[in-house]
């Protein structure tokens, strides 16, 4: 194969049929508001941890919906739980409790 010095980016396609949504269903039961998120990014904009660790609640919710647990868990480890995200959320989601629920349901070992 010819080497051009660059490649096509790996596919970002997610096959939702292969994703185990059991934990997300459980999360949705505990936090019905998780579907309320419209991914506006207010939470990410205010997050003080975002500057250092790349934490973003918006991305965490999206990743979990798409079964990308590993990325979500990596971000959550940087959360400082200051609660500013829940203060600015235009949808009134209690993101702080959502984060704690995610920390209870999901595992960091099973990455």
């Amino acid at each position: 194969m010819m080497n051009f010095g660059f490649k096509i980016a790996p596919s970002a396609t997610i096959n939702l049929d292969n994703v185990d949504m059991e934990k997300f269903t459980l999360l949705h039961e505990m936090e019905p508001d998780v579907y309320k998120c419209m991914a506006c990014g207010s939470c990410s904009a205010t997050c003080p941890a975002g500057r250092f660790t790349g934490m973003s609640v918006r991305k965490v919710i999206l990743d979990l919906q798409r079964g990308r647990e590993k990325e979500a868990v990596r971000m959550l480890k940087g959360c400082m739980l200051c609660g500013k995200c829940s203060m600015v959320c235009p949808r009134g989601i209690n993101t702080r409790h959502l984060i704690l629920s995610v920390c209870r349901i999901y595992n960091e070992d099973k990455q």
């Binding site: 003080p48 250092f52 959550l76 480890k77 400082m80 739980l81 702080r96 920390c103 070992d109």
Partner: protein
């Protein structure tokens, strides 16, 4: 008699269990404090003031105080005088515990007891005191408003058993002693009752059933005691020396926490105090009910109650026995297991250190840490910076572009390890800067900096204190306007750190200061607190409106607070301007230099 033995063994076993569950160093401290004469005196004074006289309840409401202290102190005096009587007239029986209780039953009046009229009078007097207390207690069950309590605790079944047996003990004692007054002697109360009885009951055998009933009521009360709220009577006597020895909650259920839970008398003073109480659905989430569920080990309810609380600390401030509702709840939260634990090791503190470091030698300089919340209310940091610049203070802004959280929100969620990690990072940055004053704008940060950080000799001040000092020392002058201000005491600054006078001094310099209906230690949480994990926005609105209603009682022109979180919460629903104290200072200040020019 059975009741007596039962309760004594129960209390001894319970006491040993609590002491055994204390961490080792705490236990050592406790035993050492018992032999320390200064603490011993304080113990004795506290036990008398709190357990017998209920001084804190007197301060709250006189009728409520009288009710509690009449029963407690009256009963105590009955026991003491009863023992003195026995000691005088039947010294050979003095070792029997039951003898003083049934003294009048055993003793017949003769020449030797005639001299006891004085004691008889005292006994009758204190019996009357107790009876009046019980009469008030019965009235309180129906009309608690007379006692300054809007709501009272809903008693559980066992509490009712204890309550009714307690209520019946003293009237029965009166009847029993009344029946025997002509044999054993009595005084103004029992003897006159005796005459009444003799009008229609001539036979002395009638006295037996009343004495049985009296002894039965006593027995039931003491046997039921460990399962009722009346367990607070013996527990409080243990709690007071423990508290004075400096023991604190270390474990969510054992040791000091257990002592606090059982020391709760279910009086319900915390129900009216709780800011969540504006909504009826939250009444069962107050500290009284937390303690009840903790006694019952009802895990689901414990979790619900401890997660919902705003941690404003008002229940702790008003509690007559000193149960720390907020700390108890944080301890419950800390017992929770999370699968994902935070890890901040990847945070690079070098950039932050560079931002915080001073260009010139840093001694005598101020490091300003605005905190996460202040980033949402930029007017505060703007005002603080403006004041600092105008009075020529050399300062450095530690988190201009956002810094590491102080750790208090994490601590409130009960995750101590993660909080410790943040504390370590921040300590590193702050000590590295070399400044000797740390200026804070957020009371949430301020509290954890005072309680959990070890910054050596560095001075930690909140901007209210700092401004009060600047005004006091004449560094800045204030233009006294005609505005009426009301100050809202933020929970963490007031109850948390005891800062009440400084902000008021600043405001009185700027204009007319009026007080809210409830202020200082009793100030009502704005409802925006980070303490609550589960309360959503919709549920907080009623609390905020209630707090605003309380603040505007004296119709001030503007509401002033000193917490970014209170500020943004009040902004949402307030009908008049809400400001931070820094804004007031910034607006009204006259720098000392310009003062000189005017002169």
């Amino acid at each position: 008699m059975i009741g007596m033995i039962f309760i004594l063994t129960w209390c001894t076993v319970g006491m040993i269990r609590i002491i055994a569950n204390l961490p080792k160093d705490d236990r050592k401290r406790f035993f050492l404090s018992l032999v320390n004469p200064k603490i011993m005196l304080k113990n004795i004074r506290d036990i008398f003031c709190d357990c017998l006289f209920h001084v804190k309840l007197w301060k709250r409401n006189r009728l409520l105080g009288y009710m509690h202290s009449s029963i407690a102190f009256g009963w105590f005096m009955l026991i003491v005088i009863g023992h003195i009587e026995v000691f005088f007239y039947a010294p050979h029986r003095a070792k029997l515990l039951y003898f003083p209780i049934f003294f009048r039953y055993f003793m017949a009046e003769d020449d030797s007891t005639m001299g006891g009229a004085f004691f008889f009078f005292l006994m009758d007097f204190f019996l009357l005191v107790v009876l009046s207390g019980i009469a008030l207690a019965i009235v309180k069950r129906v009309h608690s408003r007379f006692f300054g309590m809007r709501r009272t605790t809903n008693p559980s079944f066992m509490d009712l058993v204890g309550l009714y047996s307690l209520w019946s003990i003293f009237p029965l004692r009166l009847f029993a002693e009344g029946f025997t007054a002509d044999i054993s002697g009595g005084s103004f109360l029992t003897e006159s009752l005796n005459h009444v009885f003799h009008a229609f009951l001539g036979n002395h055998m009638n006295m037996l059933p009343t004495w049985w009933a009296y002894s039965l009521a006593l027995g039931i009360f003491f046997c039921a005691l460990p399962f009722t709220r009346y367990m607070h009577i013996p527990t409080e006597i243990l709690l007071i020396p423990l508290r004075n020895a400096g023991v604190r909650i270390r474990h969510p259920r054992k040791g000091y926490a257990e002592a606090e839970v059982y020391a709760c008398p279910s009086c319900g003073v915390c129900i009216d105090a709780c800011p969540m109480g504006v909504m009826k659905t939250h009444i069962k989430d107050t500290t009284v009910y937390l303690n009840r569920q903790l006694r019952r080990h009802n895990e689901t309810r414990i979790e619900e109650i401890s997660d919902k609380c705003l941690l404003c600390g008002k229940c702790t401030a008003v509690c007559p026995v000193g149960v720390e509702g907020d700390r108890l709840r944080i301890a419950q939260r800390s017992a929770r297991k999370y699968n994902i634990s935070p890890d901040y090791s990847c945070i690079d503190t070098d950039i932050l250190k560079k931002e915080a470091s001073f260009r010139a030698p840093a001694s005598g300089k101020v490091l300003y840490f605005a905190g996460c919340m202040t980033a949402l209310t930029p007017q505060i940091r703007k005002s603080v910076e403006s004041v600092l610049t105008r009075c020529g203070t050399d300062y450095e802004f530690m988190d201009r572009d956002g810094g590491i959280c102080c750790g208090r929100p994490m601590l409130m969620a009960g995750r101590f390890d993660a909080a410790e990690e943040m504390i370590a990072k921040n300590t590193d940055i702050i000590l590295g800067s070399g400044a000797d004053t740390l200026l804070l704008s957020c009371p949430i940060c301020y509290r954890i900096f005072r309680e959990n950080y070890n910054l050596g000799k560095m001075r930690i001040v909140h901007h209210t204190e700092y401004f009060a000092e600047l005004i006091g020392s004449g560094t800045i002058g204030m233009l006294h306007g005609s505005d009426r201000y009301v100050f809202h005491d933020p929970c963490e600054l007031g109850r948390g750190c005891g800062i009440y006078d400084e902000p008021r001094a600043v405001l009185s310099a700027a204009g007319e200061l009026v007080e809210a209906e409830k202020h200082h230690r009793e100030s009502i949480c704005c409802g925006g607190s980070l303490g609550s994990l589960t309360l959503g926005f919709g549920k907080r609105q009623a609390m905020t409106e209630n707090a605003l209603h309380n603040l505007t009682a004296a119709s001030p022109d503007s509401i002033v607070t000193a917490c970014p979180l209170c500020l943004s919460t009040f902004h949402r629903y307030a009908d008049r301007p809400v400001m931070d104290i820094a804004e007031v200072v910034d607006r009204n200040m006259i720098p000392a230099d310009s003062n000189d020019i005017d002169d």
